[in-house]
Structures are given as structure tokens and as C-alpha cells.
């Protein structure tokens, strides 16, 4: 009897050790983010679209295929991500676009750029020289007045947008990183386990009812 008790106690210690080990391992790992999901983030900068693709643990998708298509499914262009998971291209057409990244082994991420993010100046190559020519032909402010400054509304807007793009791009990048889910939180994991125990309860209940009616 005493022997039994001792054995039982011994086993209990073993089981709790295992449990502790597993929980400790999980705690250590909780700091990492986990990989499964692939996300692609894209932003417009002038006439270029930049994309960044990552696994959900923050690893860049290297050499993943990027497929850019219109919302109706017409493929516009294709490319590969570089070593940082980035891929940039000039806007091929002034339409809303869907960007898909294929990271192999069934991993796939998607991002949609709505039409209003693609700025009106995007379609035509908006070089300052071009704009100047245009404004010469049909502008209210004569170029001879301020030839050096080029301060007509169109040029000013172009310069402003360019400067804003440049200044904002780190912010946009930061937003992209914030948007990136940081892997499952501990309450998600516990919640999932709770669901499973709930299912066990339901299964046990129905099994019990079946047994009862059989008797």
C-alpha cells in the first residue's frame, strides 16, 4: 500500500516536471513570432509601388513570386522579391490593383491597392520638365516672371507630393510593421485550448446520452 502511494507520488512528480518543462518552453517561445502566414504590404510613392513581403515571424520572403493584377483578374505584371522581401515597380495602369505574393509550399498573401491611392499624376510620367512644358502652354502665371523658382501650382504640388512621399515613407514603413501581427497572443492559445476542452465536454455528453439510451 505504502509502495503504491510512493509510486503514485513519483509519477505525479514526473508528470508535473513534464508539464513545467512544456510551459517553460512555451514561455520562452512566446517571445518569438511564429511563421505560417505570409503578408504583403504595399504603398504608393509617386509613380512607383513598393511592396514588402514577410512571413509572420518577420522573416523576409526571398525570391517569392509577386503577381500584380487588376481587380477583374487581368494580370498586369509579375516579379520576384529580393533578399529583403521587397519588390518595386512603376504603376503599369491607372486602376485598382490586387497584389499576390506566392512564397512557395502553399503560402500566399494578398494586398489590394484601391484606385484613390494611385494618385492622379501616376499614370503619365510626371517629370518636372514635362510639367513645366505643360504649364508654359496653358498657365496663368507666366514662366518668364519666375523662371528660376518654377512656382506654379502644378509644379508646386508635384514637389510637395514628392517631399511628402520621401518624408512619410519611414512612417508608412513603421505602420506596416505595426500592422504586422505579432504572432498569436497567449490568450488566443489558451482560448483555443479552452474550446477544445469544450468540444470534449460536448462529445462526452453525447456519448453518455447514447450509452444511456442503449441501456
Amino acid at each position: 500500500m505504502k509502495q503504491d502511494y510512493k509510486l503514485y507520488f513519483h509519477n505525479r512528480i514526473k508528470i508535473s516536471c513534464l508539464f513545467l518543462f512544456i510551459s517553460a518552453y512555451l514561455m520562452i517561445n512566446a517571445g518569438y513570432a511564429y511563421a505560417h502566414r505570409v503578408t504583403i504590404f504595399a504603398w504608393v510613392e509617386g509613380d512607383t509601388i513598393h511592396t514588402e513581403s514577410k512571413f509572420s515571424d518577420g522573416k523576409a520572403v526571398k525570391g517569392g513570386d509577386i503577381i500584380v493584377s487588376g481587380l477583374q483578374g487581368k494580370q498586369l505584371l509579375k516579379g520576384k522579391t529580393d533578399d529583403h522581401g521587397e519588390f518595386s515597380f512603376r504603376i503599369p495602369e491607372k486602376t485598382a490593383m490586387k497584389l499576390v505574393v506566392l512564397a512557395g509550399m502553399g503560402h500566399r498573401g494578398e494586398w489590394t491597392i484601391p484606385l484613390d491611392e494611385i494618385q492622379p499624376s501616376a499614370g503619365e510620367p510626371a517629370e518636372p520638365a514635362d510639367l513645366q512644358k505643360k504649364t508654359v502652354s496653358g498657365s496663368e502665371i507666366k514662366p518668364e516672371i519666375e523662371p528660376a523658382l518654377n512656382l506654379n501650382p502644378n509644379n508646386f504640388q508635384f514637389a510637395l507630393e514628392k517631399a511628402l512621399d520621401r518624408k512619410l515613407s519611414p512612417v508608412i514603413r513603421m505602420l506596416a510593421e505595426l500592422r504586422e501581427p505579432k504572432g498569436p497572443a497567449i490568450h488566443d492559445i489558451l482560448g483555443g485550448i479552452g474550446y477544445i476542452f469544450g468540444f470534449v465536454g460536448i462529445a462526452a455528453y453525447f456519448n453518455y446520452r447514447r450509452k444511456k439510451t442503449d441501456l
Partner: protein, 201 residues
């Protein structure tokens, strides 16, 4: 090894769902009162194991533990893994709802195969049990990788390319899973031998 939504073609998804439905039906039928709790535990272990990321190798891989699921549950692996995969797709957005069927087949079919191959060896002496458990852990991941290749061959560039890639990426996981499975089975044999005895049902 969770296949994302929108990668596979309709017929593949449909076949996966059909096999999962059949497997789950068989599994539920065989789950008796004692096994329900066990299935629940395995299901939660599987649910959490996919979060344990193995930082070796070229791609992002994680523990799967479908070998243990198969050894302890047999056909019961289908409902157990289906539940776990469903919750993973809803809570963590791993995989997806439409690919739930095919993902369950990828995980649970190797589990059932390992159950038929190895579960009878678990009653034997430790020098048979440990290698058998290791083989179960190793083989189940290998078969899962091959199944991923098979599922993707209709969309990507050909079965052997994809399968080789997936298998190569999972070699570290196979070894780790083999070791974990061997130790878990040895541990269970010592602590709760009746779990292994009853799994022959």
C-alpha cells in the same frame, strides 16, 4: 504546412474535404468514452505544437506531432486534428476554412498510416518501442510533406520540385519529431501504460 486559401484548385479542395469527412466519421465512430478525453488532449497538444517554431532550415517550419496523434488515437486523429486545425485557422489565420479539408488530410492521413504500421510495436520491449516511435514521428512528417507536394502539384510547377522542396525543409522537423515521439511514448509507457494498451482498439 498549412496551405493558404486561394492556392489550390476546386477539385483538390473538394477531394480533401470528402476524405476528411469520411475519416472524421470513422474516427468519431471509434471514439469511445475513454478515448474522448485523450482525443481532446491530443487535439490541444497539436493545436499548440504548431506554434513551436523550429528555427532551423530554409523555410519556416514548426512541430506537427501528428505521429503521436496517430499512435494514440488511430482513426480518432481525424476528428482531433480537424478541430485543432479549425481553431488554428479561425484564431491564428493559419491555413484557411476552404483548405481545412485538405489540410486535415495532410496531417491526419499519415497519422492513421503510422497507427497501422507502428502501434502494435509499442507493446514490446523498449528497444523495439523507441525506434518504432521514432519512425512514427519521422515518417508521419515525411508523408505529410509528400502529401503537400501532391496537393500543390496541380497548381505549382510539378510534383517532384514541390515535394522535394517541402521534404527538404522539413528534414530537421522530422528528426526532432522522431526524438520527441520516442521520448513521449517511452514516458507514457512508464507512467500510463494503459494509454498505449487501449490504443489498439
Amino acid at each position: 504546412m498549412h496551405i493558404s486559401e486561394g492556392v489550390l484548385s476546386g477539385p483538390v479542395l473538394f477531394t480533401g474535404a470528402a476524405i476528411t469527412a469520411a475519416g472524421t466519421a470513422i474516427g468519431l465512430k471509434r471514439l469511445d468514452y475513454d478515448k474522448i478525453a485523450r482525443a481532446g488532449i491530443i487535439s490541444s497538444v497539436f493545436f499548440v505544437a504548431s506554434l513551436i517554431h523550429v528555427p532551423i532550415g530554409p523555410s519556416s517550419v514548426h512541430l506537427i506531432l501528428n505521429g503521436i496523434a496517430g499512435l494514440l488515437l488511430g482513426w480518432g486523429a481525424f476528428p482531433a486534428l480537424l478541430v485543432a486545425l479549425f481553431l488554428q485557422s479561425v484564431i491564428f489565420q493559419f491555413g484557411g476554412i476552404t483548405t481545412l479539408g485538405i489540410n486535415t488530410v495532410i496531417m491526419a492521413a499519415p497519422a492513421v498510416i503510422c497507427y497501422y504500421l507502428f502501434s502494435s510495436m509499442l507493446q514490446k520491449k523498449p528497444y523495439i518501442t523507441m525506434p518504432a516511435a521514432f519512425a512514427a514521428g519521422f515518417l508521419s512528417v515525411l508523408l505529410s510533406a509528400v502529401l503537400v507536394g501532391a496537393a500543390l502539384m496541380f497548381t505549382e510547377e510539378g510534383f517532384f520540385n514541390v515535394a522535394a522542396l517541402v521534404v527538404a525543409a522539413h528534414i530537421p522537423v522530422m528528426i526532432i519529431e522522431g526524438i520527441i515521439t520516442a521520448f513521449c511514448i517511452a514516458f507514457l509507457k512508464q507512467v500510463q501504460p494503459e494509454i498505449l494498451a487501449k490504443s489498439l482498439a
